[in-house]
């Protein structure tokens, strides 16, 4: 870098001007010294910029948290807890029972996990361990495309294509928890597949060779050596998949029927209309008066969601960090 086309950050504005006016200066001992000083100054600036952007993330997260608390805490303070976690959500009558919404989110998420985890893991194992190269090259772009489909488009597909099928199967309505689960499963599949595949890829080839050389079949090698070695990465994949499912709003709002009632417990619950926490916030936020109790409760739901997803993340780091310490492979 030449001395004349670089701003001199360490010198004051006035001397900078004179310097630039004088054009390329001679390389005197003095300018060389200044050059060095400039270099350490630019180091300092870059370092601080990086630090600033790092800190800003933390600050923003804290601000979000406090904002949530400020707007939502009234819900927990003004409404008796018994009623807040009660079973009736009728905002017009002043009944704010969150329980039906929590149960709704729970069922949709569980359904999505039950569908997505086996499908995702087997797909990743097929891609990473079994499929020949040419098949992998065809399949991987498809999975990336799946990841890129906007959630509202998937929700629309669920509404138009999946809901009629489910209604024909005998459900009271096509818009059920299961419809939401199915759509969510396909939304979290790309996450689960790609992270699991990375975890499998990180398992050293030596482990596979060692197992095969002992006379293990390919399946025995995958099941007894590769998957255990990739365990922590796979747990991470599942947790991130669940996180994706819980937080999703638009698709589930379209296809789950939006009925804030508690479904009967058991398998039948999946085939009844429900309403999730996220969908409730999205649907009602536009209609409430700012500062009203209803408004506060919607933020209260936000706090509950925040706590649940943080809990899942914490659990994931616990599971991943715990026993995998000595493992060279399989971790992310």
């Amino acid at each position: 870098m030449n001395e004349h086309n670089r701003p001199h950050t360490s010198t004051e504005g006035t001397s900078m001007k004179t310097r630039e006016a004088s054009g390329p200066s001679k390389m005197t001992a003095r300018s060389l010294w200044e050059n060095l000083k400039d270099q350490s100054a630019s180091e300092l600036i870059i370092e601080n910029l990086i630090r600033l952007s790092g800190i800003s993330v933390i600050v923003v997260v804290t601000l979000i948290f406090f904002f949530l608390l400020r707007e939502g805490s009234a819900a927990f303070l003004d409404i008796p807890l018994r009623q807040l976690f009660g079973s009736r959500w009728y905002p017009i009558e002043g009944l704010f029972g969150l329980w039906p919404l929590m149960v709704g989110s729970f069922w949709v998420t569980i359904g999505a996990v039950v569908i997505a985890v086996p499908l995702g893991l087997t797909t990743a194992i097929y891609l990473g361990e079994i499929a020949p190269l040419w098949q992998r090259e065809i399949l991987k772009p498809f999975i990336e495309v799946l990841a890129g489909i906007p959630s509202i488009v998937l929700g629309f597909l669920g509404w138009v294509a999946l809901a009629p099928i489910i209604q024909n199967l005998g459900a009271p309505s096509g818009l059920t928890a299961f419809t939401g689960s199915f759509i969510l499963a396909y939304m979290s599949l790309p996450t689960i597949i790609s992270i699991t595949e990375d975890a499998l890829y990180a398992v050293p080839k030596e482990y596979r060779d060692g197992s095969l050389a002992l006379g293990a079949t390919q399946w025995q090698t995958i099941w007894r050596v590769v998957l255990p070695a990739a365990r922590s990465g796979i747990v991470m994949a599942i947790m991130l998949g669940i996180g994706r499912a819980i937080g999703e709003t638009m698709a589930v709002m379209l296809v789950t029927g939006n009925a804030a009632n508690i479904p009967e417990f058991g398998f039948g619950a999946l085939f009844q209309p429900i309403r999730t926490m996220t969908a409730t916030i999205a649907a009602e936020m536009g209609e409430v008066a700012q500062g009203s109790l209803h408004y506060n409760v919607l933020f209260g739901i936000g706090i509950v969601l925040f706590v649940v997803t943080s809990g899942i993340n914490l659990l994931a780091t616990r599971l991943v960090g715990g026993r995998g310490k000595r493992r060279p492979g399989g971790r992310l």
Binding site: L133, Y207, G210, L212, A213, L214, A216, T217, P328
Partner: protein, 251 residues
């Protein structure tokens, strides 16, 4: 008596011919060492003996490798069964990231040879004893295998191989990642194991071949230049190429 008989064997990675026209006997309960410079095909040949090269795409074999008179590359051979009979110890110790016990028990478990836990305990104990590792690990069988030092890890891999009771043990530069003390222990171990097993070892280290083997084969550019009793090959090499390699003038 020959455990393995190699007849006019060639091997290809795609268009590249890695081995050409090999003929050699591997004698039962003896240690056969394969020496030669890097890339001469000695490891490739070793991995042909239990068909580990099958895991690489686009490879092809010609000729015969007869294990007890039966060609290992014959179409009706079950590769899984072949690898039970011909075990392998790798260059870098590769214990599974599991407990010491589970590493040794891995083979018997997948074979389904044992029904009771006591039998399995006994096999693990015997295998670790045969690999001269029992005394060092008997009180910590449930600890992770990766907590052992490299020399112990390599002996664990040997124990793991012994546990499936193979007939032949292939060793691919088993000491190249070990320090001299650990190397010596593995060499002593090979001596003891040769009483029960047929051993083929690939090594870069000519002193090791001279010390530890009964027969030596010298590979050069995918061909077997010379094969003889270890003492004879090192003291009276018949080929000029062998002589210049073992004296360090070539390779």
């Amino acid at each position: 008596m020959n455990k393995i008989e190699v007849r006019n064997f060639s091997f290809f990675y795609g268009d590249f011919q890695a081995l050409s026209g090999l003929n050699l006997p591997i004698r039962k309960n003896q240690i056969t060492a394969l020496i030669g410079p890097s890339g001469c095909g000695k490891s490739t040949f070793l991995r042909c003996l239990n068909r580990m090269n099958d895991t690489i795409d686009g490879t092809r074999a010609e000729g015969e490798i007869l294990l007890d008179e039966q060609d290992v590359y014959a179409p009706d051979v079950d590769v899984v069964d072949l690898r039970h009979r011909v075990g392998m110890v790798f260059q870098r110790p590769n214990p599974f990231p599991q407990s010491i016990y589970n590493n040794v028990a891995f083979g018997p478990r997948i074979l389904g040879t044992t029904s009771s836990g006591e039998d399995l305990d006994e096999i693990v104990k015997e295998s670790l004893k045969s690999a001269a590792l029992w005394n060092e690990v008997k009180h910590r069988l449930q600890e992770p295998a990766l907590a052992l030092n490299p020399g112990q890890q390599q002996r664990l891999c040997i124990a793991r191989t012994i546990a499936v009771k193979p007939e032949v043990i292939l060793m691919d530069e088993p000491c190249s990642a070990l320090d001299p003390v650990a190397t010596l222990r593995v060499e002593e171990l090979m001596r003891q194991l040769a009483e029960a097993y047929t051993i083929v070892i690939v090594t870069h280290n000519m002193q090791q071949a001279a010390r530890a083997s009964d027969w030596t084969g010298f590979f050069w550019l995918g061909k077997l230049v010379e094969f003889n009793k270890t003492g004879d090959l090192f003291t009276y090499p018949k080929e000029d190429l062998t002589e210049s390699y073992i004296t360090g003038r070539q390779g």
